[in-house]
C-alpha cells in the first residue's frame, strides 16, 4: 500500500514534471548535444570546492544555485588568455541579453600568493561588475584544480614567475550539474549558442 502510494506519487509527479524529466532536470545528466563546446554531462567535477570570495565569504557551488555558473581558472598577471576569456565572458553575457543574467562568471585564481582579494576584485569587475573571483589557500587551490581536472604550474623567470594553466571555461546548469567545457578558441557567439542549450535543459 505504502509502496503503491509512493509509486502513484512518483507517477503523478512525472506527469507534472514530465518535460523537466525528459530534459534531464531530475538531477540525472543525460548527454547534451553541443555545437561547439565539449559535453561534460557525465563528468563529476568541481562539486565540493570551498573557497573565499573577495569579501571574505566562503563560497561553494551551491552558493550559485539557480544561476548558470561558468568557472574559469587563471591569474591576474596573465597577459593573454585570462583577460581574453573574461572579456569573452562579458561579451557572451551581452549577446545572451535577458538570458545572460543567469550566467554567473566565477574566476578562480591559481596564483593566490600574488592575487590579493583587492586586486582580484578590481580585476574581474573591470570586465563586468557581476563577475566573482574566488581564492583559496595553496592547499585549497591544489584541491579545487584537482577536482576540476585543471592543470597549473609556475614557470620560473629569474626571481619571479609566470604561470601555465588550463584555459577551459566550465559551465554548470542551474542545478549544479557540470555540463559544458568551452575552449578558449571559441568565439563569444559560439559560446552563447551552447549556453542556451544548457539553459534549455535546466
Amino acid at each position: 500500500m505504502n509502496d503503491l502510494l509512493t509509486r502513484r506519487q512518483v507517477l503523478g509527479g512525472m506527469g507534472i514534471l514530465g518535460l523537466g524529466l525528459l530534459a534531464g532536470c531530475d538531477g540525472s545528466t543525460t548527454a547534451l548535444n553541443f555545437k561547439y563546446g565539449k559535453d561534460l554531462s557525465n563528468e563529476i567535477r568541481g562539486r565540493t570546492f570551498k573557497l573565499t570570495d573577495t569579501e571574505g565569504e566562503t563560497k561553494t557551488l551551491s552558493s550559485f544555485r539557480g544561476l548558470m555558473p561558468m568557472v574559469f581558472f587563471g591569474f591576474t598577471q596573465c597577459p593573454s588568455v585570462c583577460p581574453t576569456a573574461l572579456a569573452r565572458a562579458a561579451q557572451i553575457k551581452k549577446i545572451m541579453g535577458e538570458d545572460g543574467k543567469t550566467l554567473q562568471v566565477i574566476f578562480i585564481t591559481v596564483d593566490p600568493e600574488r592575487d590579493t582579494p583587492q586586486v582580484l576584485d578590481a580585476y574581474v569587475k573591470q570586465f563586468d561588475p557581476s563577475f566573482v573571483a574566488l581564492r583559496g589557500t595553496l592547499e585549497q587551490t591544489k584541491q579545487v584544480a584537482k577536482e576540476f581536472g585543471v592543470f597549473y604550474e609556475k614557470e620560473p623567470i629569474g626571481d619571479t614567475y609566470t604561470m601555465s594553466h588550463t584555459a577551459t571555461s566550465f559551465v554548470f546548469d542551474s542545478r549544479g550539474n557540470l555540463r559544458l567545457g568551452l575552449s578558449p578558441s571559441l568565439s563569444a557567439k559560439q559560446c552563447a549558442e551552447d549556453l542556451l542549450t544548457v539553459m534549455e535543459v535546466c
Binding site: 593573454s80 581574453t84 583587492q118 586586486v119 609566470t162 588550463t166 568565439s187
Partner: protein
C-alpha cells in the same frame, strides 16, 4: 711582397664591407604598428604590450625596455589541448617583409615590476632592440597607448583566440 699586397687588399675589402655595413644599417628599417599596452587595476604589478612589427631585412627582436617596468621580457604563449603555456623567449624572428604580430595569442611583451597603475589613455614608452642578419642592431622608440581589454576586443577580436 705578394703577402703584403694581399693583406692590403683584404684590409681595403674589410673597409669596404664595413662601409657597406654602415650604409645597410642606415637603410635597414623596422616598422612598428598598432602598439598598445593593457591597462591595469591598482596593485596589479604586471601588464602586457602588443604590436605588429615588420622588418625589411631578416632580423630578430632581441629585447624591449620601458621606463614604467623594472623587468621587461618577451614571452610566448602557446595552447596545447586548451592548456595555456607561458614562458620567456630569447628573441622573436622577424623575417624580411613579413609582419609579425605580438598579440595576446602568441608572442607578447611582459611588463613586470610596474612603477604604477597603467590607466586608460596613458602613453607608455617602449624601446625595442632589433638585430638584422648582419649583426647590426637598431633601437626603435615606440609610444604605446593604454587600452582596456574590452576596448581591444571591440577592435576586432570578437572571434576568440584562434584565427
Amino acid at each position: 711582397m705578394t703577402a703584403l699586397f694581399t693583406k692590403a687588399v683584404s684590409r681595403s675589402l674589410l673597409a669596404v664591407s664595413l662601409l657597406a655595413g654602415v650604409s645597410l644599417s642606415a637603410m635597414a628599417q623596422t616598422r612598428v604598428d598598432d602598439a598598445w599596452v593593457r591597462t591595469t587595476v591598482p596593485g596589479q604589478p604586471s601588464s602586457g604590450a602588443f604590436m605588429r612589427i615588420t622588418a625589411d631585412a631578416d632580423s630578430k627582436l632581441l629585447s624591449v625596455a620601458s621606463p614604467v617596468a623594472s623587468n621587461v621580457q618577451i614571452h610566448q604563449m602557446s595552447m596545447t589541448n586548451d592548456v595555456m603555456h607561458m614562458g620567456p623567449v630569447d628573441a622573436v624572428a622577424l623575417p624580411a617583409g613579413k609582419t609579425v604580430a605580438l598579440d595576446p595569442e602568441g608572442y607578447h611583451v611582459m611588463l613586470m615590476g610596474l612603477s604604477g597603475q597603467i590607466k586608460e589613455g596613458d602613453q607608455v614608452p617602449l624601446t625595442l632592440t632589433v638585430e638584422n642578419d648582419k649583426g647590426v642592431r637598431e633601437t626603435l622608440q615606440v609610444t604605446a597607448p593604454a587600452r582596456t581589454m574590452k576596448e581591444s576586443m571591440d577592435m576586432g577580436h570578437d572571434h576568440g583566440m584562434a584565427h
